[in-house]
Symmetry: C2
Subunit: 337 residues, 2 copies
């Protein structure tokens, strides 16, 4: 693979391609959360994007390019769920056959939606299969074009359109906070944000149990970890992508981690205070803000809410679990004052 | 009381007063729901309003006028919850003492929020107390100005700003659908919508168990019913307001009813398909649309989502109840195709 340098021009081109097809998602604010965190927060709601997550942007940008090649027989990808849905939906829009590999423990509604959009789904065991190896084999056997979920210039450019829209709408920001899995959204965001606002702080947030990104930034190279066990299924990649790490290394201020209970508390705050359904991965940035892990007091802060695909049964369970707001005296105290 | 005729100019004046204080809430769309209903739906999301409901608009408009009177000692109101919260929040913003009467079965989080905003809360039994009589007595005893929840020109003008914003944003509409309790939102909406778009159809939706509005429209006079038992606590008024009925009678196309299971199915669709938390009252219009009770095929339809204040415990219960999408073969079928 040629390491073609991705620039904000690629992001702008992706934005042009997405216009009229992707939603321009709303930017919401909450006085209660501003007071709780002591900053001006601007929530870019990609949970309200088509397919329920920002992933539509990257998948559509990548498949649109492929659709222009006359000899494309179909696409293959692998994903815990949101990129799967986005690829299947995009493939249907562009009329391309799609094969999607999904892990054994993927959210049932994400699997159902992917099949409903017309993709062929192949399941694999997340703890025993090297999904990238299997994907390369399958793509070769079937003559399909591989669209990786994050380590791809078109995917990164597509994801970068989120920050482009956010900054276009709210103007200058001091910081922008993004959830981190394989690094597609973080790399795209860093690219756009730093180009438009060179002094902006860019933060990536990942689950404490899967902090390969934090380790990688510290080590100055991509660190690989065993498949992590944590709630945010969209942030359980075992390593950053190469293109992604190259951009992240140069542009990201810091990577912080949060725990599952902190994530559930943030989901609950989104639901009760902002009336938004946000999935665990999408709640990573607010979890970091509410637990006071980021130095943002008095600042203007962009918060990317990456997705909202949660099964109702699972949501019911999380709502009834006893790790709620009141188990986080600091969060409860902040929200009350 | 003088029956001062309320006009769209009152609504415009209310809009001016609310600018910069109320949220201009987003208008969201969903291709899946458009396909399911066979119409272009524009959801005006007042569940994302301050205080979690449209009620902020009316309360602020009414209290702002009162705050200009030098001899105002404080305000008194009665409400199942959303107008209570809105009055308490508004009173705090305007620095006026507030007393709020709330029924014995009000949602606990609504009571908590009302107290948290600094209001004095007085509880009454919804089935045995004439709340309007008690309110008049209390207001007289304490020298407080009474701000009724819906039968008030300023409240109606404030609620009318929702439709004003919606039509300003999306342009022409063939129909607009609104939940109906005492008639504040429906009257305000009818006033704005009919003035801006004289041919628009205006629909009010109320719970089947409390269809006093439907009966009143048919009878040509305000029909009073015993306190109804149904899920949408914001739509359990026993009768329409006088000012409200006068406007509704002249401007509303029809009033339709829905059942509790239809409401829960609509709440679930909001949550899973649009990632929005909507309270039972707010789900009335979508419940009517999904059960095919309105002739809107091929039309451009405004849907006012009135509020999103649901207790997490109650939500968990509703999510686990077995009356869900799949119990409505017609809804499930529409959503799948």
């Amino acid at each position: 693979m040629t390491l073609r340098r991705i620039t904000v021009d690629d992001v702008r081109q992706a934005a042009g391609g997405l216009a009229g097809t992707a939603h321009r998602t709303p930017v919401l604010t909450s006085r209660i959360l501003n007071d709780a965190v002591g900053a001006s927060l601007f929530f870019k709601c990609e949970n309200l994007q088509r397919g329920g997550a920002f992933k539509f942007r990257g998948a559509y940008t990548a498949l649109r390019r492929l659709a222009k090649c006359k000899d494309v027989r179909g696409v293959l990808t692998y994903s815990s769920g949101n990129h799967a849905q986005a690829t299947a939906l995009t493939a249907r829009i562009l009329n391309i056959p799609a094969v999607v590999m999904m892990p054994h423990d993927a959210t049932p509604s994400k699997v159902a939606a992917t099949i409903e959009y017309g993709a062929e789904v192949i399941r694999y065991h997340r703890h025993t299969t090297d999904r990238e190896l299997l994907a390369a084999e399958l793509a070769g056997d079937r003559g399909l074009a591989l669209v990786p979920p994050y380590d791809d210039p078109d995917v990164i450019a597509g994801q970068g359109t989120v920050a482009l829209e956010l900054i276009d709408e709210v103007g200058s920001l001091d910081a922008i906070i993004v959830s981190l899995g394989g690094g597609g959204l973080l790399a795209g965001t860093a690219l756009s944000a730093r180009e438009l606002l060179p002094r902006i702080d860019v933060y990536g947030i990942e689950p404490m149990a899967g902090n390969d990104g934090q380790q990688s930034l510290k080590a100055g190279r991509i660190v690989r970890i065993p498949p992590p066990v944590a709630l945010p299924e969209g942030a359980l990649a075992t390593h950053l992508g190469e293109l992604n790490f190259d951009i992240i290394r140069r542009n990201v201020t810091a990577i912080e981690t949060v725990t599952d209970p902190e994530i559930v508390a943030a989901m609950r705050v989104f639901l009760t205070r902002m009336k938004l359904l946000v999935e665990p991965t999408g709640a990573l940035p607010l979890a970091a803000l509410l637990s006071g892990k980021l130095a943002v007091r008095g600042k203007r802060v962009g918060v990317i809410v990456s997705g909202g695909n949660v099964d109702p049964d699972r949501l019911a369970l999380l709502l009834r679990e006893r790790f709620a707001e009141h188990d986080f005296p600091e969060v409860a105290h902040r929200l009350a004052n």
